[in-house]
Amino acid sequence: MGPMRAARKTPVVIPPHLRVPGVSDEELAPALGLYQILLPEGELAVPERELPALEPAQLIEMYRGLLLIRTTDERMMALQRQGRIGFYGEARGQEAAVIGSAYALEPEDYVVPALREAGAALLRGLPLRAYVAQIFGNANDVAHGRQLPCHPGSRASRYVTMSSCVASQLPHATGMAWAAKIRGHKTVVMGYLGDGATSEEDFHVALNFAGVFEVPVVFFCQNNQWAISVPVTQQTASDTIAVKALAYGLPGVRVDGNDILGIYKVTKEAVDRARAGGGPTLIEALTYRVSAHSSSDDPSRYRDESVTAEWKQKDPIARFRKYLLARHVLDEGADERLREHVAGEVRDAIAAEENVPPPPIDTLIQDVYAEVPAHLREQLEEHKKSRS
């Protein structure tokens, strides 16, 4: 937890009600402050020496990850409006929280996602076509259309399929990390959650057990300030979400959720600590859901969209782009080519997957039972007869 203090621009004021025996200012400050490296205009909030050790090629890889999920999201929202897919939930404005955190993981680590982390699956090698196939629910989809669109899962990428139930994934993350500890594996599990999940008992169960058994899990909360239509101010009376960690004996860290370098740095420290046997961490990335909750939602009905407009000005991709241009890691021409390339990838993936037929009817039963029960076989036969 130490390094976070040095990076803060202004000292964190500890409210008197949080001054309790056994909790030091060193523990409280990172959970109450807001760690930042990149400020909205791309300038640095910290001295050079505090920048995370990332090569230019790695920075470009992260940038490409941001562009890929944004471009995919934009196209998918259009496809939904055109009636070509049934549903979509985009991660617009939160891409840095997804990519910055996932980039801190190793290939052998596990991701247990909440909802808006598909970009992490892509970053970890899930082929774009496989993601698009999942959205269409076609014959190429490994789940054969059983999941909601934009709920991928990938064994190869160690990306667990999303549950859609709020917070139910967190005890899984703790359990998987506990298993890794018992088996002596050096894997870390990243459990994602939203601000809404912190009101669920699964959140408590997961953090409590993780703290008691000191398992290698990192809880990463994308606090986008809206649980569908419930604002975070109605979600918790805590000063921050990160400070909740202290009650479970874990470090809590709050970071600017639109600052990809700050996110990467705090997550890397938490992941490294977990891998080294130092136990779990709760990270709160403060961001904003600038889009609707999903394609079925209209936020203008329940919130002040002038606030959304302010957050759009803090766009995480624009911020990182300014930094990359200023550092000459990227130039305008290369940026343009990269964007065109990504747009082409997305276009090609949609073109390839859109006309793939739905999964064969037999898969309805085959994937569920090792041996198909007689009554289901009978139903299937009857169905086929009626179709012939």
Binding site: Q82, D298, S386
Partner: protein, 421 residues
Amino acid sequence: MAFEFKLPDIGEGVVEGEVVKWLVKEGEHIREDQPMVEVMTDKATVEIPSPRAGVVARILVGEGKICKVGQAMLAIDEANGKPAPAEKAPPAESAAPPSAKSSPSAQPSPGASASTGTAAPATPAGKVLATPATRKLARDLGVDIAGVRGTGAGGRVTADDVRALQSGGAPAPAAHAAAAPIAIRPAQGDERVPLRGLRKRIAENMALSKRTAAHFTYVEECDVTDLMALRARAAARAQERGTRLTYLPFIVKAVCAGLKKFPMCNASLDEAKQEVIYRKSYHIGIGTATRDGLLVVVVRDADRRSIFELAQEIERLVKSAREGKARREELSGSTFTITSLGMLGGVLATPIINYPEVAILGVHAFREQPRVRAGQIVIRQVGNFSISFDHRVVDGYEGAMFLQEVVRYLQDPTLMFLEMV
């Protein structure tokens, strides 16, 4: 070749949407993913981007119109360049596929417009809609489910349909028969009187109003002690002029002042044109009990008459209505109505709007009541006012503000001088 864009289910389980705005015009070039139309559903207003590139050949659903999910909205000519040849717009039926042939009662009539066509999803010919339990029942009873006429929702075959056929009976009657009037059992000593004349008109008008307007009623108390004192002082002068001064002229005056501040309460909803008509004249109807039933006499241009003139006019109208001598124009054309039962006013009521007006004020009995004023219990003259609004036009907030305004004048009637003409 023209590509037809059909409104998709843009939410979860959306069946229709209103076309708010077209962002493209016929003959205009359109790019893929270019925003083309704004559609408002019951869940959200969304912008729909074009799935194809080409030229907009035809816009099939106008702004403000309802479009069913599955109904064609526009045609895009994908052949580069010229707009599409004059194709006929597809008939409404093709927009909303008819439901299964097994449910003839659910077929849209040939003349049905697109906006009233059924939005039932297409059912491939020959496919029978039935739950697994019903299918099992049919199998167990040896009934071929394909031969059963479904009477359930969307032509679904129900268990009863299967049993009816198995027992050799006729298929169950169609479920969508129009609701028949309730049969009333006669009882000894009943007297049956034909509904006609004024009674029949009242029955029709009241039912129409209740069926059409979205009624809500709001009630407020009014301290009329000062109003009573003013009326007592003015009564003598009125008598000199040969007029009996009631409270009604004061209430009419206060209502006119209130309506000028809240014009949505002096309005009508033109359903055919989907427009709200704000009335610029203040013709106040007064509900009048007559031997034959309720009549509404109309004080025309009430806002331009003095309290005494109002008193005289109301007295004249009520008298002629009760004598059955009121002329047609004295009984029609009101823009807002007041109903008062005088001494029978009671505590409160839920008045029925004099449709197509959008509000009606009920005046209730004034009584001596203990009230707390400046920390002391005092005896005051107090009465309630109830007002029903058509919520389609008047929201609760505005309606409440209107009544509060009226009450303010009546509690402090000297304020009414400020509104005098």
